[in-house]
Symmetry: C2
Subunit: 357 residues, 2 copies
């Protein structure tokens, strides 16, 4: 299938990580697992020549075609991918910033439902990702393990009996496994407790990142958490450890929301309805402002205040107000001020049925 | 008529100075003239004993009853006026802060249409005020002169052939006349030119005050201008001088609005629609915030952007969102936070037909 058609399909659907379903989906947006894999007989990605890169992409394409779960997946060769399309895939979390921007031959495998993405020739030869909505690390682990085993039967993974899977960066050595959860901590932000929580997590070696991954600021009060220290731990230990800590944060967030409802209800309702009023009326809006206001609106949906808008559709707005998404929707390149106009227009249109009570 | 009925009548009507009609009413809210008068045979207000004050109120009541134009006017004796009612009259510009708060016998005459108010026993025995909508100083002068002449035929004014009318403060000596205009300078505020204009006016001895007169801050981008130096000038000279300067400011304000429309239209529309969105959705709103947002909305009406709301009804909101008005509307005393809630509720209700285009 042509890349254009694939992107059109994505443009009219919602990513798995934004569907807003699954356990604890009021607070947990999504769960993600990732595996780093490399092949024997090749140098690491950064050191390969073009011919070897092209050969590897062919090998992977063949292997992918034989995995039943990946049968209808899209296969993007980066040669034919425009910058805007790369940014689009980056905004959807299907690729990393490094994969989007660095030179060289690269490819991407994505299932139509966007649950699985496999970056070919990232820092490692393969970076396999699986997304689930809500707090669902176990399922994300079960699925990635299945895909990994299927690929391993077709590809020669670089594996050392004592070190485990070999990776470009030693921090990934062993299982090559990482897991993360994205949480909407609007209550902890509003009660100014989020820094305390982040500090405590950092002591426990859990890293916090923004909505768009490594090196990005928290946006829309979303924080992505992952365990930093994984050496010597099995995948199941890692998943269990992260899930246990996430459940503690969820409790803190619930307490913060209850506190706001009980002690500062008038102010809270004012903030939420003002956010709705601004989103429904502004003519110019930056992406950062949109995220902040949509975060308040998401809380309004969680609290049952806002009707006529599903959480899935609200979640989608976090994504569709991003620069590349706006430009793909308009089918044209837009300057920053034009994007601010288009973003405000999109929000007014998509929120027109939401009534201010 | 009982005071309660009079206040109920005011509560359901719009003051003359807020009607939003008359010449240049896009920029000029209202014109006002004032005369200070004292009676012979009495000490000045501050030095009179209670018996003399009561006698004077009786004299004035009799004189007022004989003036045809004032026949159906309300006559308030301050003895029966509660603090909240005084604050209510102050917000409507019918009395001065001094008259509202200082101890002693006092009275007030107000015509039902609120065009004329006469404070009895303010700093001077009589302070006669006439309001007109828009830039209409000549009519405000014509009318106050007629009322003054009618009263003079019944009351013994303190007049010295060489000094003119005697007044408690020497700055009012002579004609006892002052005139002022209230201008909505939202364009000059948004283009940050208002300070320059105020400085130039101050050099020409024109004073600028806020929406609620002497000693108040500019609110909702309204400025009240009056000539400071009037000694040796006739009333007609004073009115002409003020009107000439007002016309210059009006030109500057029009230029500022044109500049905004031509050079910053997207930003201007964004600011105006956001103001509407916030006014239609907030749950808590301070009086200062309401004034600022209503000011933007007034500009939106002037520019033809906002439909389904007359300028008269918009203008009325500047007044009805004030503390005493809110409390009279609710028929109860309200704490600050309750007022912020009531104010937001009133705005949502009164603006519900305004659609965000």
């Amino acid at each position: 299938m042509a890349i254009e058609q694939a992107i059109d399909h994505f443009l009219s659907s919602t990513c798995e990580w934004l569907r807003g379903t699954g356990p604890e989906s009021d607070i947990v947006m999504s769960s993600r697992t990732r595996l780093a894999r490399n092949m024997t007989g090749y140098l690491f990605s950064g050191r390969m020549d073009v011919a070897a890169q092209q050969q590897m992409i062919e090998d992977v394409a063949k292997a992918v075609a034989s995995v039943p779960f990946l049968k209808n997946a899209y296969f993007f060769n980066y040669k034919s991918l425009k910058d805007l399309d790369r940014q689009f895939l980056l905004e959807r979390h299907l690729i990393s910033r490094e994969h989007a921007t660095e030179k060289g031959e690269k490819a991407l495998v994505v299932t139509q439902n966007e649950v699985v993405s496999i970056m070919v020739l990232e820092e490692d030869h393969l970076r396999i990702q699986v997304f689930q909505s809500g707090l669902n690390l176990v399922e994300a682990w079960r699925l990635i393990d299945k895909i990994d085993s299927a690929l391993e039967s077709k590809l020669l993974y670089a594996f050392d009996p004592s070190l485990g899977y070999l990776t470009a960066c030693p921090t990934n050595l062993g299982t090559g496994f990482r897991s993360s959860c994205m949480l909407h901590l609007v209550g902890l932000m509003m009660t100014k407790q989020v820094d305390k929580v982040l500090q405590a997590l950092s002591k426990l070696n859990f890293a916090a990142r923004g909505f768009f991954g490594e090196g990005t600021q928290a946006s829309g009060n979303f924080f992505q958490f992952s365990n930093q220290l994984t050496l010597g731990q099995s995948e199941v230990d890692i998943v269990d450890g992260l899930e246990r800590v996430m459940k503690q944060i969820i409790e803190h967030e619930k307490e913060a929301r209850n506190y706001l409802l009980e002690k500062r209800r008038a102010k809270l309702e004012d903030q939420i309805w003002r956010a709705v009023g601004t989103l429904k009326s502004a003519r110019l809006m930056s992406s950062a402002e949109a995220s902040g206001l949509l975060s308040l609106m998401r809380l309004g949906i969680d609290l049952g205040m806002i009707k006529n808008l599903s959480k899935t559709n609200l979640n989608a707005l976090f994504l569709f107000t991003q620069p590349a998404h706006l430009q793909k929707l308009s089918a044209s390149m837009l300057k920053a001020v034009e994007r601010d106009q288009k973003r405000a227009e999109l929000l007014r249109t998509r929120l027109k049925d939401v009534e201010v009570a």
